[in-house]
Point group: C2
Chain length 136, copies 2
């Protein structure tokens, strides 16, 4: 196993970004609270071209980010070869209550125990990504 001495970043197309987002279930969501940005890991699913995050009714995300701009970052990095990719979804978060009806949520399993009856749906405005590849 060799460690590349050098890698470089290449931009991904929007299509590649969505394909990669569909391969993962753990991302990190950022929003701006009154005292500055917050970033936390979340389990998500993709439905159409929106991201769906399951959360509890008590989450700061629900209190602070509804109808607000958010960013979701998803990546997969191999620390040995130092290659991988990262996708950034920027858009607006909307809290959905179980009674809201409408689109069917994707199947999202959350890791920590406890009820997570709410969804935070992220409507993307901008989807960008980069791949870290061995340099020629």
């Amino acid at each position: 196993m060799t460690t590349p001495t050098s890698t470089e970043l290449r931009d991904l197309t929007t299509r590649e970004c969505w394909d990669l987002l569909a391969t993962r279930t753990l991302g990190r969501i950022a929003w701006t609270a009154a005292d500055g940005p917050v970033v936390l890991p979340v389990n998500y699913g993709v439905a159409g071209e929106t991201l769906w995050i399951r959360t509890s009714a008590y989450a700061a995300l629900v209190r602070e980010a509804d109808q607000s701009p958010v960013a979701v970052e998803v990546d997969l990095v191999d620390e040995t070869t130092r290659t991988g990719w990262s996708v950034l979804v920027r858009g607006t978060a909307h809290v959905r209550f179980p009674s809201d009806g409408g689109a069917t949520p994707p199947d999202v399993e959350t890791w920590p125990a406890g009820p997570r009856p709410l969804w935070v749906v992220v409507d993307p405005r901008e989807v960008t990504g980069r791949r870290l590849v061995p340099r020629d």
Copy 2:
């Protein structure tokens, strides 16, 4: 290898958070741009109780986050057992130029090729973390 059917979150102490931050070199930094939050992966190092991030002079981070509130999230998750930890450092970013002198930067290797002469130093205001453990 068994997958726990259930895990739960336990808060980490500040000391545990710093010890865990020192074991990793890849985090994600969030800042608030004019059109909403941004999150990107970065290589970082710990010096005292500050985080140091190496970056290029052209980075959006440098243009948009100097003297601003930022959040750095670092985690390590085992997707098989669904256990792991996550630490969140919230504070203020300061861009440091090579000519600034002062404290000696920690040794931070950046993965993508290209010059990264600048540092973004994060002065923490709040350091919190959680561990995802199998439920009793």
